[in-house]
Every structure is written in structure tokens, then in C-alpha cells.
């Protein structure tokens, strides 16, 4: 590899990083300024130190339309939903991939391809029937309603299938001869061996769950189940003075939990995506 290429690669990467950081910086700087100035378009790229208290206020800010629930409550709802989606998806796809890879049962391939087909049916496509089902199950405005339709996941099943398929047959057989039944094998071999992949998937799914907008918009009609993403949108009201600095501060707060999750699981995340040595 030539050194010139490296410079070029770095330049491209740095440019990309800046491109991603700029809006976040604008948001951070904007949060500390006056709502009026932002609305006029007079946004400065230099944060106003005196305005830092806004982040603390934002935590307890009651959004215009969310009638009584502060931002920290919306953060908690979002966290519960993202956690539920990530854990639920991992649990269900782990078990379905386990069945598809390690058991020989009738219609195994058919079932696998049926799971695969659901890739073509994201929530947005099946939103009306999904809502109808949930509503008749009385799951509207519950955590079950927020998470269940997003949990069944072909992508995670596919990923786990690849991971499990890489476990050598000899290992499976050795465990069988040692006396491990299917569930013991799942607990003692499959889970530890795919720990890194599970962590990686958790990060991706948590962020996926955190960023959900359309589905919560439909199913969380009372403010008690309003997620942070919904809350931010509801803060923007056309007929009133929009508190832009508050919105930016809230948005910044909304960014933090996914960042914390990524940082905490970063090492496992990278290992899970790159490590093929089983």
C-alpha cells in the first residue's frame, strides 16, 4: 500500500466524520442560544456558556403537546421500548436460528424461507393490519404494543444462522457425547461462543428501537407512552412560539443513551462483526 493512498483515505474519512459531526455541533451550540435567535436563523456556531443550564431544564421540560410528562419520562419510555425490542428480537431470533441450524425437522427449509420472506414486510408495509391486530388484543398504549410488532426479525435470525453454522459439527457432537441436551448445549456452547455477535446485534437493534417513529406514533396515543422521538416532534407547534433551544437540548439528550450503549459494547461490537475465528 502506498503512503499517498493512506493520506487520501484519511482525508476522505476525516471529511466524512466532519460531515456527520457538523449537525450535532450545530445542535449543541444552538441549544445554548435564544429560541428567538434560532428562529430568525441567527444561529451561532459558538456555544454560549451561560446557556448550558438548558440541558438540565430540558430534562424536566414538559413538551407542548405531551401534556404533563417531562422529557426524562419520555427518555425512560424510549429506553424501555428500545431495550424491549433489542432483547426480544435477540431472544426470538436466537431460538429460531438455533432450531433451523441444529435440528432436522420436516419443513425446515420452508420455515426458514418463510422467516426470510418477512424481510420484505417491514412495519411500514404491514402497519394497518398490525395495528388492527394489536388493537383487538387491547395492546394499544402498552409496552407490549410498542415492542411486539417490531420484535419478529428475519435479519437477526439470518445473522445468528450464519454464526451458528460456523460452529464446527465436531463441537456439537462432542457436547452431545458429553451428555448435553439441546437446551444445555444452547446455554453452555452456543451462547458463550456467540457472545460477541449478540453484543453487536444488541447495539444495532437498540439504536433501531430507539429511533422508531412511525409505529409509536400510531400505537402510543396517550402521552404516558410517548417516546422521546415523538416528544421532540410534538414540541414543534406551528401556532405557538417554538422553543428551538429547548428542542435542540432535548435532541442532544435523546442522543445520549444510544451513544452510551455503543461505547459500552464497542469492543464486543467490533469483534462481533469482524471475528470469524470460532
Amino acid at each position: 500500500m502506498m503512503r499517498q493512498n493512506n493520506y487520501l483515505a484519511h482525508a476522505v474519512l476525516i471529511f466524512g466524520v466532519l460531515l456527520f459531526l457538523l449537525p450535532i455541533w450545530v445542535m449543541l451550540a444552538g441549544a445554548t442560544q435564544h429560541a428567538g435567535a434560532i428562529a430568525r436563523g441567527d444561529i451561532s456556531l459558538i456555544p454560549d456558556i451561560h446557556g448550558l443550564g438548558i440541558f438540565w431544564q430540558a430534562l424536566f421540560f414538559k413538551g407542548v403537546a405531551s401534556a404533563g410528562y417531562p422529557v426524562w419520562h419520555m427518555l425512560l419510555v424510549s429506553f424501555a421500548m428500545a431495550l424491549g425490542i433489542a432483547v426480544g428480537k435477540i431472544a426470538i431470533s436466537l431460538i429460531s436460528a438455533f432450531a433451523v441450524v441444529f435440528f432436522r425437522f420436516p419443513l425446515r427449509r420452508v420455515l426458514f424461507w418463510t422467516i426470510f420472506l418477512t424481510l420484505m414486510l417491514p412495519v411500514e408495509v404491514r402497519i394497518i393490519p398490525s395495528f388492527a391486530v394489536l388493537s383487538s388484543l387491547h395492546l394499544v398504549n402498552t409496552y407490549g404494543g410498542l415492542t411486539l410488532p417490531l420484535i419478529a426479525s428475519a435479519t437477526a435470525t439470518l445473522l445468528f444462522r450464519q454464526v451458528f453454522a460456523a460452529i464446527p459439527d465436531e463441537l456439537v457432537e462432542a457436547a452431545r457425547l458429553d451428555g448435553a441436551g439441546p437446551l444445555t448445549f444452547l446455554r453452555d456452547m452456543v451462547l458463550p461462543v456467540s457472545r460477541a455477535n449478540i453484543a453487536a446485534l444488541f447495539v444495532i437493534l437498540f439504536v433501531y428501537g430507539w429511533n422508531q417513529y412511525l409505529w409509536p406514533l400510531l400505537v402510543a396515543s396517550t402521552p404516558a407512552y410517548s417516546t422521546i422521538v415523538l416528544g421532540i416532534v410534538q414540541m414543534i407547534s406551528p401556532d405557538e412560539m417554538t422553543p428551538w433551544n429547548m428542542i435542540m437540548a432535548t435532541t442532544t439528550l435523546a442522543l445520549l443513551p444510544p451513544i452510551v450503549v455503543v461505547i459500552l459494547l464497542q469492543r464486543a461490537f467490533v469483534r462481533g462483526l469482524t471475528d470469524v475465528d470460532k
Binding site: P168, E173, L177, D178, G179
Partner: protein, 332 residues
């Protein structure tokens, strides 16, 4: 340790018969080595006994109990795999103790048994390591230890030495045999390496295309091969196979082929002329390759160094000849 009996064991994959009605009895403490070229059914035989495959027909009887359809985990059989199959996320001690843990033994019992076995195999220092931190020979030892610590009724070895380098293979071969004899472990050992087969076996099965060509002690197989296949498979370099017309002096009938091992060909001033085309000195002995007047190739194994001549005169002593039916390949 226990006896194993196979009755008419057969395995078909679709229309292909991989194992064709095998009968076999293994005495307690016996080491039976299964040898054959790849695809002869030797690994399938092992997997059937382990319960990893189910037979198309026939019965497997271990210590008087019919285990033909029993789950592998309930058979009390341990297996040493070709790639060791150690659990990558467990330490050596955990690897060895896993089966005991599943059996519900107490922590103290497990620790004690693992420590004893580790000592036996010289693994004491490595108990805290993970398989990834071990060398090939050490992994092999752990795989052995994992099998031994369970004190199973039967041991299965699936080409356990094939991933080691040549030198280590010789050491481990001797070590496995020593342990097996000392602990009186009833074992089925699969290999494609005939030196391994000859040196380790109490008895040997030479397999060919799903059938047992011959079951006998190594020396019996070497001295009295039951058919042409066994004759050529066991012994290195392979036995010379001649047509009666190649060597009229043997007086072999026309419906036979003549086999003679390279070390049994003698030099004789009145013998057939052998045109040497390759000499391989091995130190203590020399391999000589050449052609007879009929065009038939012949290999000789002679003690000492190279002969230093371009041709030799050779003879085939009557008592060293093996005669086989030219049609069926059976020993005459």
C-alpha cells in the same frame, strides 16, 4: 471397561451402502484399530457406535445392553475427535470436567478427578488455559483427558493424530497406546495411517468399500493377508504383485497372482535380471526400484546402503510368496 458387539451393522446413505453388514466383537480392554482408505466407511462405523448416526439395520450391544437406538448422551461412550473439538470458551479444567458437571457430580469430585487425570497426562500446569493458548500436542492431550476423566465404557478415536506433525505423532502414538493398556480402555481407533494401525492395535480391521476385508492381529494381517487388497494396503512399500508369467520360477498356477514383500526378494546369481531405475537410501536400509525382463515393476528393500550397480539378479523364495486368486483376489 466393557465389551462391544456389532451384529450385521449396516448403513446406507440413500442408495449407497456405506457400511455393509459388519459383525464384530471387542473384548474388554482391547484396542481395535480400523484402517482403510478414505471413504471406506471407517468413520461411519465409529459414528454409528457413538450414536451420531443411526444404522439402517443391525444391532450395537455394549456390555450386554442393546444401545442401537439410544441417544449418544446416554451411551457412556467418549470420543476423541480429529480436530479435538475442545470447547473454545472453556478452560482446560472446564473442558475436562464438563461431562462430569452435566452428570451432576459435585465440584470437589470434579476438581479431584480432573486433577488426577491432568497429572496422568502432564496437563497440571495448563488447567487454567483456554484451548486457543495451547499447542497442537497439548490440545490433543486435553482431548484425551476429557475422554479419560469420564471413565466411559468405550473409547472412540477418530484419526486423533492426523493434525499433528510427524514427530509429535510418533510420541503421542506411543503415549496413547501406553495409557490405553495401563487403564485397560476398550477402544475403537480409526486411522488411515498403517504405521499407526500396526503399532497400536491388538487387532486390526482392514476395511474396503464398507466391508471388513480382514479382522486379525497386525502380524497375522502382515504375514497372511486374506486378500489382494489387504496385501497391498498393509506394508510399506507395498507388496509386489506379479503375474505368474513375470516370474516363472515361482511355479504359480495360471489362475493366481503372486505377491512378495520388498524385503523378501533375495539376490541370486541365477535369478531374474532387475534393471534399477531408482535407489532410495534410508540409512539403515535402501529401497531399490526397477523393472523385470517382462516389464513388470519390482521394489526391493535391502539392509545397508545403495548397491552401486545398474542391475541386480533377484529371486523369489518359495516360502515368502503369497498366492491370490486372480479373479476374486482371495488368498489361495
Amino acid at each position: 471397561m466393557a465389551t462391544l458387539e456389532l451384529q450385521g451393522l449396516t448403513k446406507n446413505f440413500g442408495a449407497t451402502g456405506v457400511l455393509k453388514s459388519l459383525d464384530l466383537t471387542l473384548a474388554s480392554g482391547e484396542m481395535l484399530v480400523i484402517v482403510g482408505a478414505s471413504g471406506c466407511g471407517k468413520s461411519t462405523l465409529l459414528r454409528l457406535v457413538a450414536g451420531l448416526e443411526s444404522p439402517s439395520s443391525g444391532r450395537i450391544i455394549l456390555e450386554g445392553e442393546d444401545i442401537t437406538n439410544r441417544d449418544p448422551s446416554k451411551r457412556d461412550i467418549a470420543m476423541v475427535f480429529q480436530n479435538y473439538a475442545l470447547y473454545p470458551h472453556m478452560t482446560v479444567a472446564q473442558n475436562m470436567g464438563y461431562a462430569l458437571k452435566l452428570r451432576g457430580e459435585t465440584k470437589e469430585e470434579i476438581a479431584q478427578k480432573v486433577a488426577e487425570t491432568a497429572k496422568l497426562l502432564g496437563l497440571d500446569e495448563l488447567l487454567g488455559r483456554r484451548p486457543g493458548q495451547l499447542s497442537g500436542g497439548q490440545r490433543q492431550r486435553v482431548a484425551m483427558g476429557r475422554a479419560i476423566v469420564r471413565q466411559p465404557k468405550l473409547f472412540l478415536f477418530d484419526e486423533p493424530l492426523s493434525n499433528l506433525d510427524a514427530k509429535l505423532r510418533v510420541t503421542m502414538r506411543a503415549e496413547i497406546r501406553r495409557l490405553q493398556q495401563r487403564l485397560g480402555i476398550t477402544s475403537l481407533y480409526v486411522t488411515h495411517d498403517q504405521v499407526e494401525a500396526m503399532t497400536m492395535a491388538d487387532r486390526l480391521i482392514v476395511m474396503e468399500a464398507g466391508r471388513a476385508s480382514q479382522i486379525a492381529t497386525p502380524m497375522e494381517i502382515f504375514e497372511r493377508p486374506a486378500n489382494l487388497f489387504v496385501a497391498q494396503f498393509i506394508g510399506s512399500p507395498a507388496m509386489n504383485i506379479l503375474q505368474p508369467s513375470d516370474a516363472p520360477s515361482t511355479g504359480a498356477p495360471n489362475n493366481a497372482v503372486v505377491g512378495i514383500r520388498p524385503e523378501h526378494v533375495t539376490l541370486d546369481a541365477n535369478g531374474l535380471e532387475l534393471l534399477i531405475d531408482l535407489v532410495e537410501p534410508l540409512g539403515a536400509e535402501t529401497l531399490i526400484y526397477g523393472t523385470l525382463p517382462s516389464g513388470q515393476r519390482l521394489t526391493l528393500r535391502r539392509p545397508g546402503g545403495p548397491p552401486g550397480v545398474a542391475n541386480l539378479r533377484v529371486a523369489f523364495p518359495q516360502e515368502a510368496l503369497h498366492l491370490f486368486d486372480s479373479k476374486t483376489g482371495e488368498r489361495l
